[in-house]
Subunit: 426 residues, 2 copies
Amino acid sequence: MTPYSCMNRNELEQAYQTALNDFDRVKALGLKLDMSRGKPSKAQLDMVSGILTQVQTADDCIDEGIDTRNYGELAGLPCARRYWAEILDCRPEEIFVGAAASLNLMYDVISRAFTHGLLHSERPWCREEKVKFLCPCPGYDRHFLITQSFGAELVNVPMTPDGPDMDVVEELVKDPAVKGIWTVPKYSNPDGIIYSDETIRRFANLKPAAPDFILMWDNAYCIHEFRGEYVPFPDIIRLCAEAGNPDMVVEFASTSKVTFAGGGICCMAASEDNIKYFSRLFGVQQICHDKVNQLRHVRFLKNKAHTLEIMKGHAAILEPKFRTVADYLNREIAPLGFAQWNDPKGGYFVSLNTMPGTAKRALALCKEAGVTMTSAGAAFPYGMDPQDRNIRIAPSLPPVEELEKAMEIFCTCLKLAALEKLRAGA
Amino acid sequence: MTPYSCMNRNELEQAYQTALNDFDRVKALGLKLDMSRGKPSKAQLDMVSGILTQVQTADDCIDEGIDTRNYGELAGLPCARRYWAEILDCRPEEIFVGAAASLNLMYDVISRAFTHGLLHSERPWCREEKVKFLCPCPGYDRHFLITQSFGAELVNVPMTPDGPDMDVVEELVKDPAVKGIWTVPKYSNPDGIIYSDETIRRFANLKPAAPDFILMWDNAYCIHEFRGEYVPFPDIIRLCAEAGNPDMVVEFASTSKVTFAGGGICCMAASEDNIKYFSRLFGVQQICHDKVNQLRHVRFLKNKAHTLEIMKGHAAILEPKFRTVADYLNREIAPLGFAQWNDPKGGYFVSLNTMPGTAKRALALCKEAGVTMTSAGAAFPYGMDPQDRNIRIAPSLPPVEELEKAMEIFCTCLKLAALEKLRAGA
């Protein structure tokens, strides 16, 4: 195959007609396929459904003298705090265990910053003239939306293969209106980048002008390798403390992609002072979270070693799907030279940059042909991809045979959108 | 026994010495008893632990085609929305199902009012010069604390045997700074009052000056009779709609005292427009709540009729405890004529008014003798009982034999505190 950039007008026209015919053909199949969200598949959920029978009787509900069925233990069951501390390599006193969604804890942290202020705030953020929040992008749309919904000004930070561009971050945090940054340090959403040790060191050593700058450290994929061995990560709580920034960071993790996406448990990790501060605030809204489900999780997941074993089961289901995505892209798109993408070893996404100015069109074509993808631009603040080129592929939900069809359609639409543009420009 | 008010100085002195001796005697027992919170007892939790085995296998998790283990259904599983709609006599579209704590939904409603505004707000409440919130008292300390924590000015509203004094409420809502009111319409916390039809009608027909006035209708004890038959209650959502106030009310309920206090489900009921509005706001913080637990609940509780059967089981455990409280008070305190209390048929509390100026002292004595009670004043905004006389008795947690000891100590302390005051005034 000839790269599009080397084709003459006739060749382009021929390629366009072929792509158009392909598109009409796949559209006629009338499929309905979903690659829009990082949802685990039925096979993954079935694999961990043993969790349902971990707590069966009244006696099962008692743990270390605590009746999990009753009120109490706002910060979580002691065994659940120890479990998360082992996963994140911090101390149990640094853990607050939440309900099904770490997103909710993140929201609560930002919400309380606006209404009550954080530990070192001079005033609640709603009393500040302006609040800016740094958004490394492409990034996670739901992160950005939280700060957007509170009226913060979202500031784009470019990503590098080592994580967010720290030269840019270090410069931006000199502005006292910059109150925090969203990060996904391992298998970043959607790029699948693992922040380098140097990036992490520079994060821990940030010297922000705002005394209440918050490093939102969403370790969503901390143990989520789908290929190769588990990659250890450093304890950001300790690194920040050592750098003289003990209260600057709040870390998040959950079992949404370990057990059940719609019925797991989550946690927040931070300095003991932060945990005390947030517990005081959270204690106004909550007597306790569901401790029975916390106990179910600890009994099923046991410890880090056993959890990593379970993650290998997920990997065995996920790896062929990511391989399918890579195979299609390598075969159908790579020779044409108009798009680049990553090849992650963990996380839930493949991030693809197609020909600038064609991402929206490609996904509109996909939709027309029955394949739903995450909206173009979703990975950018305000949903605005300045180059209209980034597309997030989420291959976890459909079985491989469906995924193959979806990828065929997706590649066809990528080509057609690119050729439409080249043709218009020719 | 002679009432204290009829005793001469010698008789008072003698009664005081007796009370002092009694106090020393019970204190020497070195007991440690807890009547501070409306916690269900172990016997109640054991009775409903069959809920633990309702969802056991992967297949069990699928309900009406929805895999409860995966993301989705922000407003709750359809069957859970139908369940709550039947309990509250409203429509499933008017229900949003939450996690373990209705308190969290209440907090989120108030929090979002301050940061984003309610459906009919002209601006977020944090942009208002002043926000006042009405607090019928004695009432629920956790309600008051939510609005207090956002800086609202709490305004006391007296309670009558028919509910909050509606003459006062109707007058106060003419002030546009008054943004809402906390209510517990059935078996009010702590008085155990069921709001009369007339009170409820006047609530539905309120004409507040604030366009975004919110009636926080916490139906926490809607099916919580412990004596006698189930008492039906009207659908406040419909009543408000009929009165031309469709979006003024948000109702709350939970299974915290039906299944597990630390692992139940809760709901919010409101107009469809409100449910849509809040779902949009809540969708930023949450993909979904724990649907597996919702399914577990619906399969266990089935419907309203079956739930009311289960509530009779709770009643059989609770009634003897409330009888014990009444027996002690009738025998030990009634003849002395210095205190009044209610005799509820449902809910979780007995509310007692002792001799003005002695509630704090009586509870300090209780603590000294090993009995923990809800702090004096807790049922009032800012924890300030203007007459220092109200005490909330929460007899649900201890077994009857412990409760008897606790009540003996409590009555002794009530007497001693009253006699100390009479003696000092003599």
